[in-house]
Symmetry: C2
Subunit: 266 residues, 2 copies
């Protein structure tokens, strides 16, 4: 039986410690191939590159001689598309993204390049998982995260995922001895309250740095934020059908349903 | 009573015909302010700008003397954040994004900067709507789209939207006489089959242009794609809770739920 083909990507760039930890954790589970951005692409969300062309460069030495690796000039989502169409020439059996330097729990899932790569994998029908460690430090300890990545990757290889879903796994910054386990959760309601810092350049013109404060809007025990704040790693099934199904019937009751030109002009 | 404050943005850039059509359609419904990217930002998804600062420049002449307008160097989502925090200094009563040049129906919602601006509005608690015309031509006829934008904007100002939801409105490229009405729909299952075109630069090195084919994966009459292909404009309620709630109990049955260090090592 042939080994599963595992595509590994991230958004922190191909040289980030997090992707090295991920590769080390799972490399014997299948034939691994790394396709990752040539520079940090945090906060890129589901961006794709339309207006200019992309470059791909082999970097086979980076993860050891036996592991094919490529850096691209594109976004994390571009990396997945390039990998499937131009590098692997087939759909991998598993896509793993990360390990991200910093949380992608709750609303962060939507801004995250790491998670968007996993979402793109899901759209393409590949069982996909994104991993994030709630620690922004370059020298963060990825030990626990790597153990978790291996357990989750093995589970997904064995069981697959429900169609139209992927996984968002976040790991707390915690002493492994204090770790309380994996916890299947839902995305907590939260937002970033932006707070731009205005500065002036040497010519007196204003420019703005984005900063923000994370505002958690609920404390429920079934959420990913609760899990992370209580010593668990959160596992959230994510979907890319964005339809608010619960809002359909309400909207269908509005007068505008069925509105046409004749009746609509005032 | 004071007029509602309406924030208008897009992803095609502040000079695109689509945003001019949107402003014309709704300008008397409230106090309108335009905050839009200084250049095309299609396909930017929910990208935000973290690694470098942003510029904001007043462009008050662009939409007539009485309408404040600003261009920013950021993404569509950056525009919404800058508008709320630095330009309006308060939450607008309505956010309208578009009118996009090209469809944002079905899976396109996830790649779209226009829809991501509306999603960001929704996250911030602003009733938000994105509008897209299924016609990429710069000289596209935005007449029907503008009429629809006005009707939907008035409805949302009157009724508000359910918390955690926003609207994705797509308008077919159609003779207005053939238009069959607005149709509340769900997001159709679809994907893009990428197909990169490889070329070589004058130095012989390869580069890749992203192209793709849209693959519709279902034909149900309750989907946005069906509506658009049958003469309707689609109205899809969108949410930013990406949790696949229907997959939670399945995952909770996996052995990995509750996995800890002790039991996890092999």
């Amino acid at each position: 039986m042939s080994k599963p083909l595992i595509l590994i990507c991230n958004d922190d760039g191909i040289t980030a410690p997090g992707i090295r930890a991920l590769v080390r954790a799972v490399r014997d589970l299948g034939d691994c191939v790394v396709v990752a951005p040539d520079r940090p692409q945090s906060g890129m969300g589901h961006a794709i590159t339309i207006g200019h062309p992309l470059r791909v460069q082999a970097q086979h030495g980076l993860f050891g001689e036996d592991l094919p690796a490529y850096q691209t000039s594109g976004t994390p989502v571009d990396c997945v598309k390039l990998a499937v169409d131009q590098i692997l020439h087939r759909k991998p059996d598993l896509l793993l993204s990360g390990i991200n330097h910093g949380s992608n729990a709750s609303i962060n899932v939507i801004y995250s390049g790491t998670m968007s790569a996993a979402v793109e994998g899901g759209i393409e029908g590949i069982p996909s998982v994104g991993f994030s460690l709630c620690d922004y430090a370059l020298e963060a300890d990825f030990g626990l995260s790597a153990d978790i990545a291996r357990v989750v990757a093995k589970s997904v290889l064995e069981r697959g995922l429900m169609p139209g879903t992927l996984l968002n796994v976040n790991i707390p910054k915690i002493d492994p001895a204090q770790f309380r386990g994996l916890r299947v959760s839902r995305q907590a309601s939260a937002k970033w309250k932006e707070n731009f810092e205005e500065r002036h350049d040497p010519h007196g013109k204003a420019y703005y740095w984005m900063t923000g404060e994370f505002e958690l809007l609920e404390q429920s025990e079934d959420t990913d934020e609760w899990a992370l704040r209580n010593g668990y790693a959160s596992v959230v099934p994510v979907q890319f059908d964005l339809t608010a199904h619960h809002a359909l019937s309400n909207l269908q009751g509005w007068g505008m349903q069925g509105w046409k030109i004749e009746g609509g002009s005032e």
